[in-house]
């Protein structure tokens, strides 16, 4: 029989689906959510989208900290006696059903008066009556319907976030002025000496002047500031000729209308600034739902349960944890500080930190490091450091996290601008000198005309539009780039450094190889069935790898914690576990993770676990080796060295046992020798290396949930396309160079008019927008053609984003 998929979440229901109202569910959690929606007339949720839900998670006691007043204060944006407003981040928001159900929260709880979703940011803004309900109740309600909010230490600091809308205002002012000035200057384009036109000419001109004032002094102010800064640092950036052009345009136009020489160039001036700001606006658009600035704070909880001397449990803020405090970590909670395990069964998943998915068992008295996630039951630990001084978190005190990567990087536009500015000024001076001898009355006219027509609007637009479009195209392929300058830097790299665990290995599965005497059929049967009963992570992995067998009932089953399992079935007595437990005489493999097996006290052999590498790793490395130096920088021991050597091209450098700081220093050293480094990593332990590298890419299985601070986030399923992305960035640079050629062509035509002293306002008003628009069209078409060349892989994710 074919397995049914869950009506609520779309997962496979397995052999025993729960049926309710003729619908199948994979678990009771999903069924409960359906019941809630059914009772409250919210089943529309399932009409809008098939299986939109998520399985609600165990949340017992997890949100107790939300009843503390000082924490509510930080999380809410508005608080009065009866009303509170809070914005909560919910990673699961992915489709229209989500928007619908979250905006109908008031049907589930009448104390919620309003809820509004921001799909792009994946947040919901809830307004509720704080006398009748509480933030904790709202969060619990959201969790029970499968929309668990993500509350981290980051929310605690930020408070109200300020949204910067200045660019939209500036663009609006420029657009308003541009449109109106165009209308007002239109009659004069035809230059008919008509009586009424002559009569009202001064008024039209002064109106244009008035409208150009806010454009020059408000909309264009960034260009003046940037040009000033550039000159101060002895750099001729692209804003220098722009600022020069704008100044000359404004001053010359004002003089012309004051002395009634001509109509001025106010239309070109407004158009120029409007186009430039459009380019800026286009470049600024980025992925709202992703954060590229995350540090450990985004993952750490706000509060933790502390056990005081009398054994009472209190919620305390994570920053208040002191050395010697006893804290309680529940299942699925993150350890916020370094400490020592006091009691409880600890199975710590350090995948946030290292990318290693295998949970590690710890005994009482063992040291626990901050950043691990407890995965089985409740444990008690004693803090030995404060949050900021823990092994992992102190990495963030390194200077590299305060450095802005864009500084100190000369982008392609500014490189060309240096030559451009110098040659334009030279041409202006030569032409002026020439006219001083021929016709001195025209000299000033020619000088200003050259500076006006050469104003590099088209050059300044090439890069923003090309990179802006590339950013969008990469995003479609699940490669999310932080900003345009990253694409440019990506095109220049010559060294690629990979982290191992979680980056080139997949943390979803691992392989095991059996080495030893062949097991009989009955032994295999017992082995599989005994693993079935064990909850140890290695047992679970091995269970999934071994082939299917019948289910049998074991006669005896005993699990020795930290050692292994002992089982009995008919004639077979089996021991599975560590070397010493099963009695392996010569245990020499120290580097790899192994599980040993013995049957009736005879040692049989061992399963050695290997990382399973992502598909296409070998091919990717072979593509990359032709152009780049390749390095693997791993925090693990050298156990995988032989395997990696087989898999990867011979010239790949393999370096093991690297601490987070070592990775950072390694990159710094190579940069000082002239390498342009691309670092690809995944865990928080790579954060330093990602920040130090020229381009840091984080690989992520789920882009919404986890990634350290980086320049770009690559969806793990697109890992093998990395080479294509680098090559596409290089092609983008080529497109920009071609559009520079195109804009020089326009400049030559313009300069002809300017140098010969025939630059009429109407010529400028046609030529300047024409060059800008054709550059925009050229770059857009060229990048789209380039984007088609990036092969797309069929979408395999369960919930395709509907954006």
């Amino acid at each position: 029989m074919e397995n049914k998929t869950c009506f609520h979440c779309g997962d496979d229901c397995g052999n025993h689906p729960i049926t309710y109202k003729e619908k199948s569910f994979c678990c009771n959690g999903c069924k409960t959510v359906f019941e809630i929606f059914n009772e409250n007339d919210l089943t529309c949720y399932y009409d809008l989208q098939n299986s939109p839900g998520a399985v609600p998670k165990e949340i017992e006691g997890k949100y107790d900290f939300l009843s503390q007043d000082n924490i509510i204060e930080k999380l809410t944006e508005f608080r009065s006696d009866s009303i509170e407003i809070a914005t909560l981040y919910i990673p699961h928001i992915h489709c229209s059903s989500c928007i619908w159900v979250l905006e109908n929260l008031k049907k589930l709880d009448t104390n919620i008066s309003d809820s509004q979703v921001n799909f792009g940011k994946k947040t919901v803004r809830v307004t509720y009556n704080s006398e009748a309900t509480s933030l904790k109740a709202v969060v619990l309600l959201l969790s029970t319907i499968g929309y668990e909010p993500y509350i981290s230490l980051d929310d605690f600091k930020s408070g109200e976030k300020h949204i910067n809308r200045t660019l939209i205002y500036k663009l609006g002012v420029a657009a308003f002025g541009f449109g109106n000035i165009m209308f007002l200057s239109f009659p004069e384009y035809f230059e008919v000496n008509e009586f009424w036109l002559e009569q009202y000419k001064p008024m039209f001109r002064w109106l244009m002047f008035a409208m150009s004032l806010p454009i020059v002094f408000y909309s264009a102010q960034d260009y003046f500031i940037s040009a000033y800064k550039g000159l101060k640092a002895k750099l001729l950036n692209i804003d220098v000729p722009i600022a020069l052009g704008v100044t000359v345009l404004f001053v010359r136009s004002t003089i012309e209308i004051t002395f009634d020489i001509g109509s001025g160039f106010f239309d070109s001036l407004a158009g120029l600034i409007f186009f430039l700001l459009t380019g800026k606006f286009f470049q600024q658009k980025t992925y709202q739902f992703l954060s590229f600035e995350r540090d450990y704070k985004s993952y750490f909880p706000i509060a933790i349960t502390k056990i005081d001397k009398d054994g009472n449990e209190n919620s305390i803020q994570v920053y208040d944890i002191e050395k010697g405090d006893r804290i309680l970590i529940r299942n699925e909670e993150l350890i916020p500080v370094d400490g020592i395990l006091i009691n409880g069964k600890a199975k710590i998943d350090y995948s946030f930190v290292t990318g290693e998915s295998q949970a590690i068992s710890k005994q009482s008295g063992d040291k626990l490091f901050a950043g691990g996630k407890q995965t089985s039951g409740v444990i008690e630990m004693e803090a030995i450091k404060s949050v900021e001084q823990s092994y992992l978190t102190q990495l963030w005190s390194n200077d590299v996290f305060n450095k802005n990567k864009e500084e100190g990087f000369t982008n392609i536009t500014n490189t060309i601008s240096k030559h451009f500015t110098v040659s334009i000024i030279t041409i202006a001076i030569i032409a002026t000198t020439f006219w001083l001898f021929v016709d001195p009355s025209k000299a000033m006219n020619v000088f200003t005309a050259v500076l006006i027509i050469a104003c590099p609007c088209a050059i300044a637009l090439s890069a923003p539009f090309t990179f802006g479009n590339m950013l969008r195209l990469f995003g479609k392929q699940k490669f999310y780039v932080k900003n345009a300058s990253v694409i440019e830097q990506l095109a220049q790299i010559n060294t690629v450094i990979f982290d191992k665990t979680g980056t080139i290995t997949s943390n979803k599965q691992s392989n095991a190889e059996y080495d030893g005497d062949i097991l009989s059929e009955s032994e295999n049967l017992v082995l599989k069935n005994s693993l079935r009963g064990s909850n140890h992570p290695l047992s679970r992995t091995l269970y999934n790898i071994l082939q299917e067998n019948n289910i049998i009932t074991l006669d005896a089953f005993e699990e020795h914690i930290g050692q292994g399992i002992e089982v009995k079935h008919e004639a077979v007595n089996m021991k599975i576990g560590s070397a010493s437990f099963v009695g392996n005489p010569n245990s020499n493999s120290v580097l790899n993770t192994t599980v040993h097996v013995s049957s009736n006290n005879v040692y049989k052999g061992k399963f050695t676990f290997y990382n399973s590498y992502r598909k296409g790793v070998s091919k990717l490395f072979n593509q990359l080796k032709q152009h780049f130096d390749l390095v693997i920088l791993s925090g693990d021991n050298a156990g995988e060295q032989d395997n990696l050597k087989k898999l990867l091209p011979a010239k790949t450098k393999l370096i093991f046992n690297q601490k987070p700081e070592d990775k950072l220093d390694f990159i710094k050293y190579h940069q000082s020798e002239g390498a342009k480094v691309l670092m690809i990593g995944d865990g928080l332990n790579d954060a330093g290396a990602l920040a130090q590298s020229d381009v840091g890419i984080a690989i992520s299985e789920d882009v919404n949930v986890f990634s350290p601070a980086c320049d770009a986030i690559l969806d793990a399923s697109r890992f093998k396309q990395l080479y294509t992305f680098i090559m596409a960035s290089k092609s983008a640079i080529k497109i920009i160079k071609w559009s520079f050629v195109l804009s020089f062509f326009y400049n030559v035509i313009g300069l002809y008019f300017a140098v010969t002293g025939q630059l009429e306002p109407v010529v400028a008003a046609i030529l300047m927008p024409l060059s800008s628009i054709s550059i925009v069209v050229f770059t857009t078409i060229a990048t789209n053609i380039l984007g088609k060349k990036i092969p797309s892989i069929a979408n395999t994710t369960r919930h395709p984003n509907k954006v």
Binding site: D41, C44, S96, I99, W100, E103, Q116, V117, N118, F119, G120, K121, I163, R165, I168, Y169, G172, V173, F176, G179, N180, F183, W196, Y200, M203, L207, V803
Partner: protein
């Protein structure tokens, strides 16, 4: 006085009015989220349908 002054002042006033409306719209946060409202708009039919449903129920009760 020529009619052109009236025409000009009217056109400038209209232009400025739209500009002010734009600024107010930006300030109120309308441009912060440009996706959700497009979806929300489509839900209004659903909501109306449900309201009539519940009203019918109360009548029969």
């Amino acid at each position: 006085m020529s009619v052109i002054y009236i025409l000009l002042s009217v056109s400038v006033v209209v232009g400025v009015t739209f500009f002010v409306i734009f600024i107010v719209a930006v300030r109120s946060g309308q441009y912060d989220d440009d996706y959700t409202p497009s979806v929300r708009m489509l839900f209004e039919d659903e909501l109306v349908k449900e309201k009539t449903d519940t009203s019918k129920q109360t009548k029969t009760d």
